[in-house]
């Protein structure tokens, strides 16, 4: 008897809560992240969310003068939850791809898909020209090709490791496969290990990931070299996932992101968290 009444009150209570939650839906923007992709977004030991995207989300919400609620969700559940209406926006390091654009909409990008080379600091490739200059393949493809031609004599006959079926492997196939041997690996860790053992001469991968890798004690003696590529085969970059129908919210986010890019907030936050400026080129 007691159990039954307890259950009944629990059901009543939860339905009341649910109706309250529905009531103030319009004011609160529910942003979902993954909480497992440090340093973009992660859960601190205390249980709170933190990281580049969490701080950026708070900043964007301040700019939009909106109340936001950030919560962690399973990666696989993010898009279904968005389309199911449980959440309103996704900020989880999600790259804009044609396949995802079939099911959801995206805001403008807040992080460029920067890719660069990791080499051994004492190798000949440490002197790759380019000097960490950022080159957008969409905006300056001729410039990019000129730079690749400049790198060609140094790269000739070398072996470059990439993670299979990524944008980096697409780039290597398109621009580098004539001069170097491209070897495909299952994971970033696998090609980094082979760089250390000397099986490959360079690695091409996401610049943020590589920059962090150079600080790893087991990858001591590695350095980034050459230019940083983005755009083109690397895609437009990382944006906020939104329902296609939410055009008003998209306009608000676009405006806020543009403002955050212009006043250097994205640069500041990304340098703090990602040790790299991921600001998309305007």
């Amino acid at each position: 008897m007691q159990l039954k009444s307890l259950m009944l009150s629990a059901v009543l209570f939860s339905s009341v809560c649910a109706s309250f939650a529905n009531a103030d839906d319009s004011q609160v923007i529910r942003i979902a992240t993954e909480g497992a992709y440090a340093p973009w977004n992660f859960v601190k030991p205390g249980g709170q969310l933190d990281g580049f995207e969490i701080e950026l989300a708070r900043d964007l919400c301040d700019r939009m003068k909106a109340k936001c609620e950030i919560s962690a969700h399973d990666w696989d559940g993010l898009i279904p939850s968005l389309n199911g209406g449980q959440i309103d926006a996704i900020m989880a390091g999600m790259s804009i791809t044609p396949k995802r654009q079939e099911v959801i909409g995206f805001s403008r990008t807040y992080a460029a898909p920067l890719n660069g080379f990791l080499v051994l600091a004492n190798s000949s490739l440490a002197k790759l020209p380019g000097d960490a200059k950022s080159i957008d393949l969409d905006k300056d493809e001729t410039g990019a090709e000129a730079l690749i031609n400049q790198m060609a004599p140094l790269l000739k006959g070398k072996v470059i490791g990439v993670q299979g079926s990524t944008t980096a492997s697409a780039f290597a196939e398109k621009y580098l496969s004539k001069v170097v041997e491209v070897r495909e690996y299952k994971t970033v860790d696998a090609h980094n290990m082979d760089l250390m053992s000397g099986r490959i001469d360079a690695v091409l991968a996401n610049a943020v990931v590589l920059k962090l890798a150079t600080q790893d004690p087991s990858l001591k003696g590695t350095n980034m070299a050459g230019p940083i590529f983005s755009g083109g085969v690397f895609g437009p970059g990382i944006g906020i996932g939104l329902r296609k129908s939410d055009t008003a919210l998209k306009a608000k986010f676009d405006e806020a992101i543009t403002a955050a890019v212009k006043d250097g907030t994205v640069k500041k936050l990304s340098e703090k968290w990602l040790k790299f400026d991921v600001t998309p080129l305007e």
């Binding site: 299979g164 079926s165 495909e184 690996y185 299952k186 290990m193 082979d194 053992s197 000397g198 099986r199």
Partner: protein
Amino acid sequence: MDFAFLLECFKRLLAGVPLTLGLSLFSCAIGLVLASAICAMRLSKKVWLDYPARGFVSIFRGTPLLVQLFVIYYGLGQFSWLRESFAWTYLREAYWCVLAALALNTAAYTSEILRGGINSVQHGQIESALSVGLRKDQIWRCVILPQAWRQMLPAYGNEIILQIKSTSLASIVTLMEVTGIAAKLVSQSYRPIEVFVCAGALYLLFNFVVTRAVTLMESRLTRGMRR
């Protein structure tokens, strides 16, 4: 099922066939030579030869091939003195690492197959051979080996088939054999059924040929025994 795509798959996968078959053939050949030596060590009845051979067999039969491959490929690369030695010119290449792992693994199994075949020859026959005055090498050539060979052929045929299938592990360390190309095709086309069915069919074809060859040899070797 889209037949045009299936055909396209076949064409792309064919590029990996030489590597798959090369790895199978060379690893079996090297493995057979090693296995003969190990088997001889085990049959020598000398402790200092027998025990190392036993150790080798139990290690390579008792651990997964994938683990052996990882130890050889990633593990050995850790030692800087090895990286500076001449051995690194070979161990640097994924091909030689895979070949070494496959050959050592099959050597362990094959040595046991050889030993089983040789031990299956009845001792009485060897005694009779000695009693009619045959020399040791004559006994091996005319009495033991022909019968042992017949005994172990089915088991060795199995080993070759397993070996062909084991080459699919090579893709894990960047070698683009049939399975490696298949995995790449899947991630490009998102059509796993067609691609893996094609890859499976290729392996089936290789193993069909091996099975037929072994059966043919078996029937030739057992000519005298059939009724």
